[in-house]
Amino acid sequence: MASIWVIDTKDARTAAKYGLFYGCIIPNRYPGIERSIKVILEKLGCNQLFSDIPQATCCPVPGIFYSSDKETWLALAARNLCIAQDRKQELVTFCNGCFSSFLMATEQLSDPKKLGMVNRILKNVFMKYTGIPRVTPEGRRVLEPIKVRHFVDVLYRDIGLESIKSAVVNPLKGLKVAVHYGCHYLRPTERECIEDPVNPIMVDEIVASLGAESINYENKLDCCGAGGGVRSYVVDLAAAISRDKLMNIINAGADLIVTPCPYCLLQLDTVQERLELTRIPVFHITELIALALGADPRRLGLEAHVVPADEIISKYGGTK
């Protein structure tokens, strides 16, 4: 269904397969992640497959909206899904929270009752969620729900480790990386089933393909403590949970923490200032990839991080 979003026709008829959904934290707190995503796609030569979604708004935060009014949460999420639908794109997220929110929304919208309810609300903004029309190999016309993807999944399954490996110009030899997956990357398992929830490997393998070593540490799949409103509601509790995680990471001798979630990044980065125990840089996985692919480290916005990564940059930032 055509929507009134067709303001910029070139934009609406984008040939790009994937729509990039940055969420709230990346553009407003750690813009270097946004920059590193662009660098990665350029260096991997798959720019044309991806495009920004300029009409997108907050996913909206499940810890706030899903927790206070499910109807509003679903309608606001569906609004973003409608935009991807009109652009016939897969929705690519870089945040475990956005990923979980959209997956849960597509799941709920497969219930005709909820779909009807949402479409009655969306009528007010001239939108309708249907899914993307496709013709099956047998010639049947079907409406497919929007595909919600985590960028890690796209990198691993669609682009492939080999492409990343061959694009590495600054191998991160000797760098010991502690991977933190984050809860909503893994759970609930029936929804976030992109890989084995008790033994996830995709981020570890991406780290290894950059030449770095992904080290094992105690309780690797533990929560960072920030999710679900805990960080906003009882700061001390979130900090205490993060503290356990950070101590395990330090004890394992890591140089760097890497996560696929900017909210976990925000928590693990800012909490170190509060705890005054550890000084270990925390990177989003895209920032680490960009560094290995030869991005200019001065243009990765790493000054937005609370814990500086100067040592790592001077060692692995190339000659630029």
Binding site: P27, R35, T57, C58, A75, N124, C223
Partner: protein, 190 residues
């Protein structure tokens, strides 16, 4: 550095260990109905095995044990429960480990719905909802980040100005249609 020592915060153990028997008047028979209405119906299948508490990062650190919360819900101890639901990271470990297939995280969401409706939303819910209604995003941007964006070659404004006002109008229309503005207390003007 040595072995990572677990830290325990918010000790309410003493208060909870006071031998105060639960009296019938404390039990609100309608509470379970409200929980079911808000989507936490499976609270009734809990067998009190404690698997959820064993894997819960919050239960590990506080006396907010999820198993106790579930039991108190079953007993209708509404007053005791309503101070707890925002202390949950919604990490869904409880759900993964529940042998009865219950989803305690979803129960917490139902309790949050009740808290928002009966006691009002906590301040951070109001401020983030306001941000979304006014900016389209949950987080405000600072001048420092605006400068940084420019410096590293991104569009200075993260939000595409061509679409911004329409997007915010959409959000506000949706919030009005569902009554979210009244529920949270957001002033949408006009």
């Amino acid at each position: 550095m040595g072995h990572a020592k677990k830290e325990f915060i918010i000790s309410e153990k003493e208060r909870l260990l006071e031998e105060v028997p639960i009296v019938d008047e404390e039990c609100d028979r309608d509470f379970i109905k409200a929980i079911i209405e808000m989507g936490g119906g499976d609270v009734q299948v809990c067998l009190q095995c404690g698997n959820c508490t064993g894997v819960c990062p919050v239960s590990l650190k506080t006396e907010n044990k999820i198993r106790n919360i579930i039991k108190m819900c079953q007993m209708g101890l509404k007053e005791k429960v309503l101070s707890t639901p925002w202390v949950c990271a919604t990490c869904h470990r409880c759900y993964e480990h529940c042998p009865a297939g219950m989803n305690p995280a979803e129960l917490i969401v139902a309790l949050r719905h009740i808290v928002v409706r009966e006691l009002g939303p906590p301040p951070f819910v109001v401020s983030i909802s306001n941000n979304v209604a006014n900016l389209g995003q949950a987080i405000e941007i600072s001048d420092k980040i605006l400068d940084l964006r420019k410096k590293i070659g991104l569009n200075e404004k993260p939000f595409d100005e061509r679409y911004r006002s329409k997007a915010i109008m959409d959000i506000r229309t949706i919030m009005r249609a569902t009554g979210y503005d009244k529920l949270i207390g957001i002033d949408l003007g006009d």
